[in-house]
Symmetry: C2
Subunit: 332 residues, 2 copies
């Protein structure tokens, strides 16, 4: 199968919202009047972001999910995406599964594939995603990293640490039972972009980011961009491992329950969570609860923004913890 047959068979669909989709030199997209286009790009490299042997259906899902997560963190409504794909060769079963996973998530968000590139080379997936954000009275409604205010509550959606738990288990760094791994692995391989929550938080949250490199590292971006500091309850975060109960059963059985330090490390520095970390003033607490309900996404208050720069970790009793946790850096 040649390059153009491959595109036609697995990736070309009739244009819906786009003025022109796959198949010309450019795609043509006309954002609605009174909106800005939110744009983000993520590249996934085999052996770095995923195991080459990963299920291609979940890989198709994840490649788009991590990009939709960036739109969510901006409060943008997904519109469309481009896909650039470097493949070692044409494997039809792989392509069928990959494109099925990709389009299942794309369809769930009414997000259209409008173009891209296909080439031979080491397996590499680069998606660029486009969303819309309203502009009201010349003011963008986008949620930015730079809007956090001293006094804001600090929230995180969903659960933390399970993706890293699965990764460490798959790498043999930690030993867990098969059912714990199965549960945690879904979070690693099939993350849920919090698009509905991001949309519901427009006008409520002051700042937002998605947790991809780890809670502490990504919080650091909010603090730096907003020129503020924060106090973070490490044990509150540490309680957000979804596989927690499952782990305790397994721990009792295998005698390898997670230590407090392991829990803290997984949740604070894990990465690959794709949850929303956001700040909102205390006056918006009931609005945040309502946004969580509307979007059917649990949120947990885990700290507060302070004028004093830097991050202060405290335990469940409010006692200071040493700043011993680092986030992921591709080149560190």
């Amino acid at each position: 199968m040649g390059e153009f047959d491959l595109i036609a068979r697995y990736f070309k669909r009739p244009a819906r919202r786009a003025a022109l989709g796959v198949g010309d030199d450019c795609a043509l997209l006309q954002p609605s009047p009174g909106t800005q286009l939110a744009i983000s790009s993520d590249m996934l490299v085999a052996g770095r972001h995923f195991f080459a042997a990963v299920n291609p259906r979940t890989l198709g899902h994840k490649a788009l999910a991590v990009n939709l997560s960036d739109l969510a963190a901006c409060g943008a409504q997904p519109l469309a995406f481009t896909l650039a794909l470097s493949l070692p060769g044409v494997d039809e079963a792989w392509l069928a599964a990959f494109s099925a996973g990709l389009f299942a998530l794309a369809d769930a968000h009414d997000c259209e594939l409008i173009g891209g590139d296909t080439t031979a080379g080491p397996l590499n997936i680069c998606i660029t995603v486009f969303g819309e954000v309203p502009v009201v009275n010349r003011q963008s409604q986008a949620l930015l990293r730079s809007g956090a205010q001293p006094g804001d509550d600090l929230y995180v959606s969903g659960t933390l640490g399970d993706a890293r738990l699965a990764l460490d288990a798959l790498l043999g760094k930690i030993s867990v039972s098969a059912d714990v791994l199965a549960q945690a692995r879904v979070r690693l391989e099939c993350p849920t972009p919090r698009v509905a929550l991001g949309l519901a938080l427009r006008g409520i949250a002051n700042a937002a980011i998605d947790v991809s490199d780890g809670l502490i590292g990504d919080l650091g971006h909010i603090l730096e961009c907003s020129a503020v500091g924060a106090e973070l309850n490490a044990d509150c975060a540490a309680s957000l491992i979804a596989t927690s109960a499952c782990l305790e059963r397994a721990g009792a059985k295998f005698g390898n329950e997670l230590t407090q330090d392991q829990r803290r490390t997984l949740t604070l520095c894990g990465g690959d969570d794709y949850e929303l970390l956001f700040t909102a003033p205390p006056s918006q607490r009931s609005a945040v609860d309502a946004a969580a309900q509307t979007s059917q996404t649990p949120v947990t208050r885990i700290g507060r923004i302070e004028a004093e720069t830097g991050l202060r970790l405290v335990d469940g009793q409010g006692a200071r913890l040493p700043p011993a946790y680092a986030s992921f850096d591709h080149f560190a």
Copy 2:
């Protein structure tokens, strides 16, 4: 140097036209009222699209040039781009040269880097580019592959075949003198996107594409999308090798002048030319000449569009040639 320092040092610049540039979850772009956004994505893989040891400055140029060439083929005005970069490691001299080449071309087209991704992995460069096309009376002014009409003249800009000549010489498949290689190599490594010509052809050309996979293959896309055929003067195309005179001197010297068949193959199937191939009605000949002059880009009439589908190659005397030339396909 970590990932975020790398971005800050080599790729972050203050936002100009974008509402928000590098450094948040998404970039924010607000296209002008009454325009469509033209979007294209190209991925360049080391060892596939370029030699890993290529000069990083020209690589930075080429990575953006091939994307700008897609905007040119749509008649779009460049606005902005995202860059996703997978690097085996942090090589500061390489990054300085790569970003200098990239930004020199970006600045020449007032095209702004607004976001992207940086990761560790095999060297891979994925750029997604954004341009604007006016919409007049609800009619997009974009130049598409699908607009060719029977009776249209067929034109190509600039020169053909030199990039492939350089590639074949570098691969040891053909032997040329050092000065021929030096001249041809500029075309391979530092192509000129024909943005000004693409803009000048709006309202004049009926269809356009850029020549990346080879003249015949890319013409095939126009013919297929427009449901027409063409007669192409192979010897007229074969005369468009820029290094032609240079080659003849070298050929006389080394006794290895290019054969007629080599010339035809290089120009018809070479690829990596990044010239514009376009059609326009004969009534627009003086307008095409004027567009060529305004944009300071030579154009040559090399054939015509016909109602009968398929491609018919003729020689300089109008005699039919066998259809023996294929274009580049990554997976064929």
